[in-house]
C-alpha cells in the first residue's frame, strides 16, 4: 500500500519542496549545474513565460544544495560542540600542574581529588594551566546571579538565576539535547522498523493490529501524550521521558516501513529470492532493507529536530524532569521569572533555532535525494 501523492492527511508535507518543472541538477553532481541544452520548452504548469531568472537551470536546486550543505556544516559544528563541551566550558582546566602533580584533562575526568579541592582553589594554586574557553562548568554557581553578558570577565553569555554560567549551560545543553534526541530517534526507528516490517511481511492480522496501533498512537497530539505520560508515571525521569517521546515517534516510521516493505515484497526479485528458499528474514535484510534505508535516514534526520523541540518545550514548561546537567529549555524558562534578563532567552534560543533549522535543512536535502517526486 502506498500513500497516494495527493493525500495530505497521512504524510507530513515536506518543506522547501520548491519544485521547478525542470529537474534539479542530479544529486551530488560535480560543481555548478549545467544549463539545460538547447531551447527549453516553457514549463507546462506556468502561466507566464519563464523569466531569465528562472531559466538559469535550477536556481532553487542550487540554492537547496547550498542550504543543505550549510545545514550539514552547522550540524557538524553542533556535534563538535557537544563532543568537546568539556573543552569549551568546565570547572577545571584542560591541563594543569598543581602541588607538583600534572593533571591531564581533569575537565573531562573530574578527578575526585580536585573536586574535593574546589574549582577556585585549583585555579588559584595551579603552577601553570591550560584553561578551557570558559572556566566554569554548567553546575558551578560561583558568580553572582543574573549577570549580563560581558559584565564580568569570564562569563561571555552572562549568568542565570542561580549564578551558573550561561555559556557553559548552553554548551553542555547541546550535548544533553543531541544525545537524548539521537537516542530517542534511534529507538523509535528500531521499534518502528520492527513493527512496520512485521506488518508488511506478514500482513493479515498482524498488519491490522499494527495498523490500528499506529492510528491509535497518532491520535494523540505528541506533546499532550508525553505530558500525560510524564504526569502519570509515579516518578518522572529521563528514562520515562525518553520512552514517551520514542512512543510518539514510532508510528511515523512504522507506517513508512510497512508501505515500503509491502511494495517491495511484490517485486520480481523478491519473489525470486523467496522461490529460491530465502527466509523472510533474509529477504528483509538483503532485499528490502536497502530500499528502506534511505527513507529511514530522512525520517531520522527530521526526527531529531522534532524530538529536540518537544524536549525543549517540556523543559521550558518545567515538566520534563531532571534531564541532565544542563538544558536549553530550562535556562530559557528562567527568563519568565527574570523578564529583563534577555540573555537567558537569547543564547539558548539561538542555539535551539540554529539546531532545528540546520537539521531540517539536512533532512530536506536527504529527502530530495531519495524522493524522486521532489526533484
Amino acid at each position: 500500500m502506498t500513500e497516494p501523492p495527493d493525500d495530505p492527511n497521512r504524510e507530513s508535507i515536506p518543506l522547501l519542496l520548491a519544485r521547478t518543472s525542470r529537474r534539479a541538477p542530479a544529486g551530488g553532481g560535480d560543481g555548478a549545474p549545467a544549463p539545460a541544452p538547447g531551447p527549453v520548452p516553457p514549463p507546462r504548469s506556468s502561466l507566464r513565460a519563464p523569466s531569465a531568472r528562472a531559466d538559469k537551470a535550477g536556481t532553487m536546486g542550487y540554492l537547496r544544495t547550498r542550504l543543505g550543505a550549510a545545514g550539514m556544516l552547522v550540524g557538524v559544528m553542533l556535534v563538535m560542540i557537544a563532543i568537546f563541551a568539556d573543552m569549551l566550558a568546565s570547572d577545571f582546566p584542560i591541563m594543569c600542574k598543581l602541588h607538583g602533580k600534572t593533571w591531564i584533562f581533569p575537565n573531562v575526568t573530574q578527578p575526585a581529588e580536585l573536586v574535593a579541592l574546589g574549582a577556585e582553589a585549583v585555579d588559584a594554586d595551579a603552577e601553570w594551566k591550560l584553561p578551557t574557553l570558559v572556566s566554569h562548568g554548567p553546575s558551578s554557581s560561583t558568580a553572582a546571579p543574573l549577570l549580563p553578558p560581558g559584565a564580568v570577565k569570564g562569563h561571555p553569555f552572562g549568568t542565570d538565576r542561580e549564578g551558573h554560567d550561561v555559556f557553559a549551560r548552553v554548551v553542555h545543553g547541546t550535548r544533553t539535547y543531541l544525545v537524548f534526541a539521537l537516542a530517542a530517534v534511534v529507538t523509535s526507528l528500531l521499534f518502528g522498523g520492527l513493527f512496520g516490517s512485521l506488518a508488511g511481511l506478514f500482513g493479515g492480522a498482524t498488519d491490522a493490529l499494527v495498523g490500528r496501533a499506529i492510528e491509535t498512537v497518532s491520535a494523540f497530539p505528541p506533546l499532550v501524550l508525553v505530558l500525560g505520560i510524564q504526569a502519570a508515571v509515579p516518578k518522572a525521569t529521563v528514562a520515562t521521558l525518553f520512552l514517551a517521546i520514542a512512543l510518539t515517534r514510532w508510528p511515523e516510521v512504522a507506517r513508512l516501513v510497512r508501505a515500503e516493505v509491502m511494495q517491495v515484497a511484490t517485486r520480481d526479485y523478491v519473489m525470486a529470492a523467496r522461490a529460491l528458499g530465502a527466509s523472510p528474514l533474509r529477504v528483509l535484510r538483503k532485499h528490502i532493507a536497502p530500499n528502506v534505508r534511505g527513507q529511514l535516514a530522512v525520517l531520522g534526520a527530521v526526527g531529531i529536530p522534532a524530538v529536540i523541540l518537544i524536549e525543549a518545550s517540556l523543559d521550558f514548561l518545567r515538566v520534563g524532569g531532571p534531564l541532565g546537567t544542563a538544558s536549553w529549555g530550562e535556562t530559557m524558562s528562567e527568563f519568565r521569572d527574570a523578564p529583563g534578563a534577555w540573555w537567558l532567552l537569547a543564547f539558548p534560543g539561538v542555539f535551539l533555532f540554529a539546531t532545528i533549522v540546520a537539521l531540517n535543512l539536512v533532512g530536506e536535502a536527504r529527502r530530495e535525494s531519495f524522493d524522486p517526486r521532489a526533484r
Binding site: 495527493d6 495530505p8 502561466l47 490500528r212 505528541p222 509515579p234 514548561l317 532545528i356
Partner: protein
C-alpha cells in the same frame, strides 16, 4: 455520500477503542490514592477512607475481566465470614455491614441463627446504626448483644415482607407522584434497600419537590449530606442529581443483587476498564484532586478556550497561507517563491514557546487580548499549510483545463482564482482538519506563556499537584478531538472530491 461518511466514522471505532486502552493504561500507572490527614493503616476510619478513594477510581475491580463480580450478597457473606473468624478485618467488616445497611438485611438476617453466638451478637450490635436510621428502636435497646440479636430476629419476622423489590418500587413511585412525610417514613424503614429505586427515580423525574424528598431519603440512608433543599435553583438541583448518579455508578454493587444474565454482563461491566470507559463516555470523569471540582465541569469551562484559540489560529494561518501559497506557486522559481520558502522554513523551525515568549515580552500584553496568543499559535501551522497550498496550486495550474481556459483568452487573475484555486483549495482545507490537533497541543504551551486559563494551563497546574483525574481526562479529550478531526477532514475531502472518496475506500479494502 452519507454512506461514505458513516463508513469513515465507523473506521474510527477501532482507533477510539485503542485510544481508550492507551489512556486506561495511563491511569493504571497513576499512584494509588491516599487520604489526606494521614492515619495508621490499621485504623478502621483510615481504611474506610482509603477504600472510598480507591473505589472512586474502580481500583477494587479487576482490570478487564471480573470472574467473580461482587453484589450485595457476596459482600455481606464476605463480611460475615470475617466477623465469624474474628480476624484483623472483623472490625472493618462490622462497619461495612452497617454501611451496606438495609440492602444487605435479606441476605443476613435469615442466616443469623446459623452463626455462632458470639458472632451473632457482634453482628447484631454492629447493625444497630441501621435500626437507628430506620427509627424503629432506641439506642439502649441494642447495646446488649443478646437483646440486639433478639431484636433483629423479631424485626425480620415482622418486616421481611417490606423487603421485596416490587413493593419498594411502588412505594418510591408513590413518593414521587405524591410525596408525603408518611411515605418517606415508610421507605426509611427499608433503609438502603430502596436506594436502587430512589436513584432510578432521581434519574427519571424532573420534579423538584420529588427530588427534595428522594435526595433527602438517600442522604439519610447513606450518611452522605447531598440533598436538594427547598428554593434551590435548577442548576444546583442538577448538580446534586448528577452527584448522586455518579456516586451510584461507583457504589451500585454494594446494594444490588446480581441474578441470571446480569451476572454474566457484570463479569465484563464490573471491571475497571468498562466502568472507566462508560463513565468517561457519559461525562463522569471523577473529581479533580486539585480543587475538588468535577473534572467534566472544569473541562466544559476550559476546553472552549483552548479549542477556540486553536480554531482562530487555524483561520488566521489559512488566511495567510492560502494567498501566500498561491503567489508562491504563481511566481514559481522567482524571488518571491524562494523568499517564502526560506521564511517558512524559519517559521517551521521556531519553537512555539520561543515565539510566544518573544511576543509576550515585546507585545507587553501578557494579560490582555487574544491576538498575540493566536498569532503565536498560527505560526505552527502556517508553513505546512502554505506548502500544501503551493503544491496543490502548482498541480492545478499544470492541468489541461487551465491551458484551455488560457487558450480561450481568460485573464490570468480569472484563471488563477476561478479555475485553479477552486480545485487547489480542497487539499488545503482538509489539511486544516489535521493541523487542528497539532494546534491544540501547541496551545498548551502558548497558554502557559500568556497565562490563559485554558486546558493547557490547567494541565500544567494538575501536573504540579499530581491531579490524576484531570490529566487522564485531558489526554482522552485531545485524542478524541484528534480522531474526530481526522474523520471530519477525510469526509470533507471525500465530499469535495469524489475521486478521493473512491480511493480511500479502495485503500481501506486493501488493508
Amino acid at each position: 455520500m452519507l454512506g461514505y461518511a458513516l463508513r469513515r466514522a465507523i473506521w474510527a471505532i477501532p482507533t477510539l477503542f485503542g485510544v481508550s486502552l492507551v489512556v486506561f493504561l495511563l491511569t493504571t500507572l497513576l499512584p494509588d490514592p491516599t487520604p489526606d490527614g494521614g492515619g495508621s493503616a490499621s485504623e478502621v476510619g483510615f481504611r474506610l477512607r482509603t477504600d472510598e478513594l480507591r473505589r472512586a477510581r474502580f481500583l477494587d475491580l479487576p482490570r478487564f475481566l471480573n470472574t467473580e463480580p461482587h453484589d450485595v450478597r457476596a459482600r455481606v457473606e464476605d463480611c460475615v465470614a470475617h466477623v465469624v473468624l474474628e480476624d484483623d478485618d472483623a472490625q472493618l467488616c462490622e462497619k461495612r455491614l452497617s454501611q451496606i445497611g438495609g440492602a444487605g438485611l435479606p441476605h443476613l438476617l435469615p442466616h443469623l441463627d446459623n452463626l455462632p453466638p458470639t458472632a451473632r451478637g457482634r453482628i447484631a450490635v454492629a447493625l444497630a446504626p441501621i435500626a437507628l436510621r430506620m427509627g424503629v428502636v432506641e439506642q439502649r435497646e441494642l447495646a446488649d448483644p443478646g437483646a440486639a440479636a433478639l431484636f433483629w430476629e423479631r424485626f425480620w419476622e415482622d418486616r421481611s415482607v417490606d423487603f421485596t423489590a416490587p413493593a419498594v418500587r411502588r412505594s418510591v413511585d408513590r413518593l414521587v407522584a405524591r410525596g408525603t412525610d408518611l411515605r418517606e417514613e415508610e421507605l426509611r424503614v427499608v433503609d438502603t434497600f430502596a436506594l436502587e429505586h430512589l436513584v432510578e427515580a432521581m434519574r427519571l423525574t424532573k420534579d423538584t419537590n420529588a427530588l427534595i424528598r428522594l435526595t433527602r431519603l438517600a442522604s439519610h440512608v447513606t450518611g452522605r449530606d447531598v440533598s436538594v433543599k427547598t428554593g434551590d435553583d435548577p442548576k444546583r438541583v442538577r448538580a446534586v442529581v448528577s452527584d448522586w448518579l455518579s456516586w451510584w455508578y461507583v457504589h451500585e454493587s454494594d446494594y444490588v443483587l446480581l441474578q441470571g444474565g446480569a451476572k454474566v454482563t457484570a463479569s465484563i461491566a464490573q471491571t475497571r476498564y468498562a466502568k472507566w470507559v462508560l463513565g468517561a463516555a457519559t461525562g463522569q470523569l471523577g473529581l479533580s484532586t486539585r480543587d475538588g471540582q468535577p473534572v467534566f465541569d472544569k473541562l466544559l469551562s476550559s476546553a472552549p478556550v483552548t479549542l477556540g484559540m486553536a480554531l482562530l489560529a487555524l483561520l488566521l494561518s489559512a488566511m495567510i497561507a492560502i494567498p501566500l501559497g498561491v503567489i508562491a506557486a504563481w511566481r514559481r522559481g522567482h524571488f518571491v517563491d524562494h523568499a517564502t520558502a526560506l521564511l517558512l522554513l524559519a517559521f517551521y523551525s521556531l519553537p512555539t514557546f520561543l515565539v510566544a515568549e518573544l511576543l509576550a515580552t515585546f507585545g507587553r500584553a501578557a494579560d490582555a487580548g487574544v491576538v498575540l496568543p493566536v498569532v503565536a499559535l498560527a505560526t505552527v501551522s502556517l508553513s505546512i499549510m502554505t506548502q500544501q497550498q503551493r503544491a496543490s496550486m502548482i498541480e492545478a495550474l499544470g492541468q489541461d483545463y487551465i491551458r484551455t481556459a488560457r487558450a480561450k483568452g481568460a485573464r490570468t487573475l480569472r484563471i488563477t482564482v476561478f479555475h485553479a484555486l477552486r480545485n487547489a483549495l480542497v487539499p488545503t482545507v482538509t489539511l486544516a482538519g489535521v493541523q487542528f490537533p497539532a494546534l491544540v497541543g501547541a496551545a498548551f504551551v502558548v497558554e502557559e506563556v500568556f497565562g490563559i486559563h485554558g486546558m493547557g494551563w490547567e494541565t500544567l497546574r494538575a501536573i504540579e499537584s499530581r491531579d490524576a483525574a484531570w490529566i487522564v481526562a485531558v489526554t482522552l479529550l485531545c485524542a478524541v478531538v484528534t480522531t474526530a478531526c481526522l474523520v471530519t477532514s477525510d469526509v470533507a475531502y471525500g465530499l469535495l472530491d469524489p475521486r478521493v472518496r473512491e480511493q480511500q475506500i479502495r485503500r481501506r479494502r486493501a488493508t
